[in-house]
């Protein structure tokens, strides 16, 4: 917002609707004081892809952890202190030189909150949900992740209770890196499967 502020942006229709529902629910005593701010802060600051990046970095650095992660994703993720709603049944799918995994939710917006946070807008919008199960090779290339034609693509539609996390391949040339440095290489999109670290 520029200095002055004499011409604030007009309040949109959707903002008026949100304000109306918020006011009515608050008047009925259903919105605890500070609740909206607290839940917003948690998803902006604490619950996000930095958690998943730690899981991936640990798996890259510690072969035994990786084994546990692939055998029981929920338990191995809990070892690092992460868990909660939309993370109770975690399955980790591993990329290898010939196999690329990618996750989608065609019916709504299912996503592993404890390790990736809330999904980005494009993940929930119709083009991604419609196209990823029909033309993943084309869509991945469009999104900046072209794959050789011989690479097998495994698409995971999160249609029941399991939530998926992609374990990307560890990039070459990272042998001397610490776990913290490795975590810095892991992007949200590489754990969705639309990018590679």
């Amino acid at each position: 917002m520029s200095a002055g502020g004499h011409h604030p942006a007009p309040v949109s229709q959707v903002e008026r609707r949100v304000a109306a529902l918020e006011a009515l629910l608050t008047e009925r005593g259903l919105v605890p004081a500070g609740f909206i701010e607290e839940i917003t802060r948690r998803y902006e600051a604490e619950i996000g892809p930095m958690n998943g990046a730690k899981v991936v970095a640990r798996a890259w650095a510690d072969p035994q952890y990786k084994q546990r992660l692939l055998a029981d994703g929920t338990a191995a993720i809990a070892e690092l202190g992460f868990g909660g709603p939309e993370g109770d049944h975690m399955v980790i799918v591993e990329n290898t030189p010939g196999i690329h995994n990618v996750i989608v939710c065609t019916l709504c917006s299912c996503y592993p909150w404890p390790v990736l946070g809330l999904p980005p807008a494009w993940y929930k919008d119709p083009p991604y949900r419609a196209r990823m199960v029909r033309e993943p090779r084309t869509l991945l290339a469009e999104m900046g992740c072209p794959l050789p034609p011989e690479t097998e693509i495994r698409v995971w539609d999160s249609s029941a209770e399991v939530r998926y996390l992609v374990l990307p391949e560890r990039p070459p040339g990272t042998e001397g890196m610490s776990e913290a440095e490795l975590a810095g290489l892991v992007t949200r999109d590489s754990m969705i499967g639309v990018a590679r670290p």
Partner: protein, 208 residues
């Protein structure tokens, strides 16, 4: 229901509006809408199925032209009205204009759920076909795999059947399976070397 939300494989959509760096919330109202859904779902004790179905019942044009947090707002308001926390006219009065809600539930209430199914009917490697059905209410059986045959690759324990929990207090738990489909079996123009995995409840499936 065969609603607009069932988007897998629909054609005509363009480029994904992709950005590698995106804020968690673009506007404060999105964060408020999300929190209000949590408030309402808690107050009315909505199951995951009932919540999802309240979005699926949105008018298709509204669904496709609104952001996902507007979907959550519409779901929160719809559930709040349906459970008597607020009225639709109160919402429109306060908002100073239209406040579109989702359409009515078309399925009858689920009263008799039957006993839990503890033992998986299928095992890893079994060939299964997805039942070709079109329930009037909520389901998590995506349209693009109905009638198609795939292979069970994982059995995931038992979970509440969404088709039942969305429509009342009754619950039945059943095994879910991850079923692998060859893209060539799903689409006339299926891409080579592509496997699509869909997680499906026991009652959605029959032996192939």
């Amino acid at each position: 229901m065969d609603g607009i939300h069932d988007l897998g494989g629909r054609q005509g959509f363009g480029t994904v509006g992709y950005s590698p760096a995106e804020p968690v919330f673009h506007h404060r109202w999105e964060a408020v809408a999300r929190a209000l859904l949590v408030v309402v779902a808690g107050a009315v004790k909505a199951s995951g199925g009932e919540f999802r179905h309240s979005i699926e019942r949105m008018e298709p044009g509204h669904y496709l032209t609104s952001s996902y947090y507007e979907h959550w707002l519409t779901a929160a308001a719809t559930l709040a009205v349906e459970h008597g926390l607020v009225t639709h006219s109160e919402l429109e009065e306060r908002a100073g204009g239209r406040f579109p809600l989702s359409g009515p539930v078309l399925a009858p209430p689920a009263v008799a759920a039957g006993p839990d199914v503890d033992t998986p009917r299928f095992g890893v490697g079994d060939r299964v076909r997805v039942r070709e059905w079109h329930p009037p209410g909520h389901t998590r059986s995506p349209g693009y795999v109905r009638g198609k045959t795939g292979t069970v690759i994982r059995v995931d324990g038992i979970h509440s059947v969404p088709d039942i929990e969305a429509h009342g207090a009754a619950r039945r738990r059943e095994p879910t399976y991850s079923v692998r489909f060859d893209a060539a079996d799903l689409w006339r123009d299926g891409q080579r070397g592509v496997w699509i995995h869909v997680d499906l409840w026991d009652s959605y499936l029959e032996r192939s």
